[in-house]
Every structure is written in C-alpha cells, then in structure tokens.
Amino acid sequence: MPTIHSAERWLLRRPGSPMPHNPALGRRGVARFAGRAGLAGVAALALAGCSVIGTGSDSGTGTGSEDSDGEGGGVVQVVTHDSFHVSEELIADFEAESGYTVELSAPGDGGALVNQLILTADSPLGDVAYGVDNSFASRALEEGVFESYTSPALPASAEEYLVEGSDALTPIDIGDVCLNVDHEWFAEAGIDEPETFEDLLEEQYEDLLVVTNPATSSPGLAFLLATVGAFGEDGWLEYWEGLADNGLKVVDGWSDAYSVDFSGSAGEGDRPIVLSYSTSPAFEVAEGETEAPTGALLSTCFRQIEYAGVIAGAANPEGGQAFIDFLLSDEVQADIPEQMYVYPVNDQVELPESWTQFAPLAEDPHSVDPAEIDAHRDEWIQEWTATVIG
C-alpha cells in the first residue's frame, strides 16, 4: 500500500512534527481551533443570552392545555391572526379581574386562521378565536368550529354585523378596504381625481391603478367582493376586463403595492391609485401637518367585519366567553383603533382625533351576503385569475 508510510508516520508522530499535505492535521491545530471555537461559543452565548430550551423559565412556555380545566381561573388560550394587538395593560387588567391567564397564539393571517381551526376541529387549538372576517366567516360556521354564544356586552351598534342565522360569531371591529389616491400626484398632473368605480375605466386613468391579488391577499379579496357588490354577480367580471384593458397592475401583497408601486407613500412609485384601507391616509400625515397627502375613495369600499367566537370543544369555554366580553368592553373597544387600525363595533366609543379627520368610514360600503360569498368565493377567485392574469 503506497500510503502506509505516511500513515504510519502520523500515527507515531510526535506533536509538532511538520506534516505538510497530511490530512490528519496536528493536534495543535485542533487545540487552537478548539480554543477559538470555545471563545466564539462563549461570545455567541453571551450575545444570545442563552437558549430558549435551556432556560424555559419565562412565563407561559408550556402548552398550558392541562391547566385550563379548573373552574374560574386557569388558562384561556386565544388563537388570533397575526395582526392581533391589544395593549398589554388591558390584558393584565383582564387577568387580574377574571383570574384567567391569557395565552396567545397567532398562526397566520385571517384565511389561514380559519383553515387551521377547521383542520384542528378534533383537537382544538384553543378556547377562543379572534380575527375571522366576513369573507371567511361562513366557511368556519359551515364547518361548525364555533359554539353558540351571545355576549351580554354586545353594543347595539354591533347588531347589524351579526351573521344572519347564527349566534356563534361576535363582531368585534370593522374596517373598510378602499382605493386610496395620491392627492399631490393628481394636483401636479392637473387631472381630476377619480371618484367611482366607473371613473377608473376612463382613458385619463390609464396605467394609474395598482391592486393586490385576491388569491394571495385579503384586501385583494375584499376588493373583488366590493366589485361583486357594486356590479352584481353577472357584471363584476366584465368590469375587471375593463380595468385590465385600462392598464391595471396586479401585485401579490399589500406591502408590495403600497410601498413600491404607490406614489403617495414611502415607496414613491409611479401609480397614484392603490388598494388599501380607509384608515391608511391617517398614517401618511407628517408630524405637524394638518392635511393628509392621500385620501380614500369612499365609494369603492368593502366593509370587513372581524369576529370572535368560542371554539367548539374548547377546554375552557367559560374563559373563552369571558375573553369575548373583554374584547367588547369599552376599554378594549377604545384601544382597537390605535392597536389594530380598525374601527370598534361600538360606535359610542371615542375615536382618536386624527381618525375623525383623515380616516372616515364609508357611509355606504359595498357588501355581499356571507352565504353568497361562501358559495362562490373559490369560483370567483378562479374566474378573476382566468380573466385578469390569464
């Protein structure tokens, strides 16, 4: 064997003897490496504190479902979408008053949330879910993932948002998805701003509109539903054909459209009309200014209603109910605009000043019957895709 000599040499080798091109490097190299690795390891650990698994001392690292079967108190597991946000002090107050401990999980956006609740119906993810909206509500109800519950805290102004024929979902907040325009762009270009859906088909608005894809974005779906509401089940697709012919641009997600293509926000893109929310202009007001550089077209809005419900088969249904009452309390309702950028369902609650000024709700938003949405949602998205994307 040709390599025997070198192999023999390295086996018998004394530390430090030079061994060029021998893959079994000297022990000193290993030692030096180990020293370096140790140092770096210490540095990395110091940097990172230490591992999650290693400590486990933070509160609420357990799954908690075992603790939640006691009456009065225990854990309330709240499943929400990833935009859920309520002030920490309010949650702490709720915990102190009710004796419950709140555990949150937020496994995705509104659509993903509903689908997860359906998939896990045999072994529920938690006690109460918040964040199901009216474009998905009927699917959740159909699958029976929620239990009946009528909250005594439900304000009168919320009754119009109850789902017809079911008492399993409690409306918590509302928001309008509308087209936004860049006032400054239109002023500079000397073109009148569009006001209605039909305006957008005119030649002067060619190549000015960017919207999001209803298959991948929830405002996109809401806008599709707005056109169904406006033009009816027979006319909406034709309207989209017109939009496509007039240089409509479709991108995947809201952040993409708003921050890259829209001219009125951080992106300084080249399209002055974008699909967003009626509240978006309030965020564009620079400090010390009294005018919003953008505005919402209130005749193009679809109203999104977000619901909460007690999950069927929950370990702690009383806790879930208590949490729904908590969401309807005046404190949380007043907290909602600042935290989640949507309107509370309780219209008696005072709104932030900038909202009354820059973020009005549409007076007459478009709507589609939830049962209709449920029956046709997938079909509409597919027709839309075939027509607009091809």
Partner: protein, 581 residues
Amino acid sequence: MDGDGHRVSSPRPGSGRVRGGRWRGVGAARGLVWGLAAAVPLIFLGVFFGYPVASLIARGFVTDGMLDLGGFAEVFSRPRTWRIIRLTLTQAVLGTAGAVLLGIPGAYVLYRRDFPGRAVLRAVVTVPFVLPTVVVGVAFRTLLADSGPLGFLGLDGTFAAIVLALVFFNYAVVVRTVGGLWERLDPRTEQAARALGASPARAFLGVTLPALMPAIASAASVVFLFCATAFGVVLVLGGVQFGTIETEIWIQTTQFLDLRTAAVLSVAQLVVVAGSLALFSRARHRRERALRLQSTSTRPTPLRLWQHHRPGPDLLPTAATAVVVGLLVLLPIATLVVRSLRTPSGWGLGNYVALGTTGGDNALTVTVWEAAANSLRIAVDATVLAVVMGVLVALVLSRRPRHLAARRAIGWMDGLVMLPLGVSAVTVGFGFLISLDTPPLDLRSSPVLIPIAQAIVAMPLVVRVVLPVLRAIDPRLREVAAVLGASPGRVLTAVDLPFLIRSAGLAIGFAFAVSLGEFGATAFLARPDRPTLPVVIFRLIGRPGAENYGMALAASVLLALLTAGVMGLAERLRGEHAGEL
C-alpha cells in the same frame, strides 16, 4: 460517539485468520454504533417531518373515511397543473445554472486569491441568503419597477426577475460550498499539469474542475431544491402568473382549503424533487472520489489581474465576480441600506433609533432589539440541533461499507435527509397542527417547535457542506490507521475529525444563517409575545406609514449585519490563518 463503519479487515485470508474472532465482535459493536448514529437523525426527521407531512397528505386522499385517489386524475387533467410543473422546473434549472456558473468564479476569487477586504466580502455575499423574502421582494421591485434605477431594463414582473432573485438568494451557497473544498485542494496537481504544458484553461478543466465536482454537485442540489420550492420570491415577483408547485400548494391550502388538490400537488412536488435528487446523486456518485486535501488552507496568493503588461489569469473570474457581486448582491443590499437612512424628516439614523421602540402606532409587541435577541437565542438551539444531526448523517453517509445492502441504505438515507428542502413549508406547518396534537407530542404551541422546524431546514445544508469534504478523505487512510492498531474511535478522531471541524465552521455559519432568516415555519409557530426578527420585519412592512416602513428596512439591515457577523465568525472558526501553523 465512536466507531467506524468501514470494514477494515484485510481481504487476504491470512490476516483474517489471525484476528478474525476479534474483528467479528468489533464489527458487530461498530455496526451497532453506526446504526445508532443513523437512527437518531432518522427518528428525528421521522417524528418532526415525515409523520406530519404524511398525515396532511393522507388527509387529502381520504374522503368520508375512504381512500380516494381520484384527485390525481382530476388535478393532472388541468392544463394549469402541467404549466405549473413546467414553470417550477424551468425556474429551478435556470436559477441553479445561474448560481453555479456565477458562483464558481466567485469561489475562486474569494477562496483561492487574496486581496484586501476579502473576509468582509465573503461575509457580505451570504447576506442575501437570509434576508426576508418580502424585504428582498420589495428591494428588487424598487430597483426594477418602471420608476426604479433599473426600470429601463423592463424586468419588473417578468420571469427573468424571478430567476435573478433566485440567483441572488443562492449565490452564496455555491460560492461557499465550492470555495470550502477548493481552498483545501492540493494545488500541486494543477501545478503539475501546468508544468507539463497544459494551458491554464486546460489545467482547470482537466484537473481542478473534476476535483471540485462533488462540491459543485452538492451545492447545485441544494440550490436546485431551494429554487424548486421557492415561495416568497415567486409570489412577490411573479404572483399567480408565474406560480410554482409550491405557491399553488400554498394557495390551495390557505385560501381554498382544498386539501385534495394540495395533497396531489405535494406528491407531485415530492416526485419532482426525488427525481431531481436521484439525478444529482448519480452525477455526484460518479464524480466523488478521494482527493488530495490539505487540512489547512493553502496560503492564498494575491490576485494576478495584470502580468507582464498583459491581462493576468485572474482578470476574467475577478471581473465576473465583481459584476455579479456589484450588481446582483450589493446593489439590492445598498438600496435597502440607503432607504433605511431615509426618515420622514429627512436623512438620518432615525429608523435605527426607532429599533428600540415598538414601532409607529404600536405596530409591535416587543422592540426590534428584543426580537433580535429572540432570534439569536432560537438560532443557538436550532444550530446545535442541525449541526449535531447533520454531522451524524454526514459521518454515516461518508462511510463506504462493503455490503451492497448497507451501501444501498446509505444511498436512500442520502436522499431522505434532503427531502425537507423539497416539501412545502405550508404542508409541514399544517402537518404539525394535525399530527403533533396529542400528548406527549402536543407540541403545537410549544416554543421548542421553532428551533426544531428551523433545524430541519438547516440540516440538509449542513450535510451537503460537510459531506463532500468527508467523502474526499482517502478511505485508505482510515484502513491504514486501523490496520496499524488504532481503535475505531481513534480513527475517527484522528482522520475524520480534523476535516470535520474545518467544514463544521461553515456548517455552523449556514445553520445559524438559516435559522436567523427562516420565516415561513417560524411565523406559523412563533408566539406573538416572542417574535423573531423576520417576523417583526414582516409585521412592520405590513403596516402603513413611513415610520414603520423605515423601521422594517432598518431591521432588515440589522438582520443582514447579524448574518454577516455570524458568517465572519464562522470563517474565523474555519481557521483563516491556519496556514501559519
């Protein structure tokens, strides 16, 4: 762990007779140890990957308690399905080809040549690998949109933009995997070829390139899988128009809850991925062989751009690398950095100061710094897991047992550990939900799932980085060591360990980077009160207002810096100055 699966007993009857009895006993013990080494990662993958995925796919094929495979006929009769499969393969092949062709000169310049700033550049090229796709998507679109600096190219919303972005993301995988082997390749073989009169090109094609093939194939297979299953990039830059199997599974699952279609597509994706892996593994197999490796890196020579008033041999690769790094890597990153310095009140560090807050209008539940600390903590766990499992797998796979059955088993295992890169994240995530839901495995809301999910993504990368180096070790070294009386454990520590340690630095860096940048599974599993850096970036960029947007960009730059820092540290672990020994 010790032991050596390699059969070292001499084929000559003489030696067998002398020591046969002892060898048999040792052989059995050794088999047990290697069996265990293989079983641990396989069980890990089985529980946290195979079982959840199988559960979800199975659900798609069961209607009213009956097995129903009608979905196959239905889904495959749609022209859209075939178009999607074709697009998936096309973009993956183009993305891989681009990354490999551009990455090889990059590996040469960054690993075989010395110049000021090399270490920094090496760290910088890895940054794209971890940047959140939503941020990269926005950065790319900012560049390519009609109003952007590269708008004149007309690439916005085109297939070419997607391929470019795929190359952007995966360039580092090729540069680093190939560079890692290249810098330890004994240069004398090529020098000998040159001395015998071969032109530089011929010496490269005839000697160096074949020697690099295992690493190239290794990198290519990883890149191919990343490209074939790319999700965010395709959605942001292409939308439904250029959908892939992955985006289609996502839409079918999260939007339509059409598990039947999703299951069929998942199976189709598995078939595509397994088929590609088989092709790669055959290509790799033929190329892999013992190489002359040096355990210490060769002292790199300075760049020879210009020699004797003529273009030097390094001019072309350097120019190619400069263009790629400049246009494809630095420009998008620079766009991010520049825009992160723009605040509503003019240029400044305002967005970075804001990282200590919870964002405009309380966009976040924690500050960005806290999220960064979470990310680092989780990354430590994920890295430990991924490296331990990945190294175990690589050690097992690097053996060349005599038994055909054992060799076959190793071949299967090789493919198996790559599969996590080839299965849609949404399938894995939803699979977790419906399968890990009964004690003692009700882990759905447990924080341990996050590092586990990240480790599963990082593990194939660890294997592919470590394995080419281990496989390049001449097996005779191990045989000789054993014949000379070294115990199997000693063989492992003396022969394999030195190489393992060198490549482990790179593997650790990659595992850490994967964990820092991972978004899909993390967003699915992260608790709202303990988000990671990519999760808060995603939240921030999804909020209106210039403040939050600026903060998202600043946080992305922070993530990029962390990654570059970790990669730089990993470089040091690999013994940058080992040549001084």
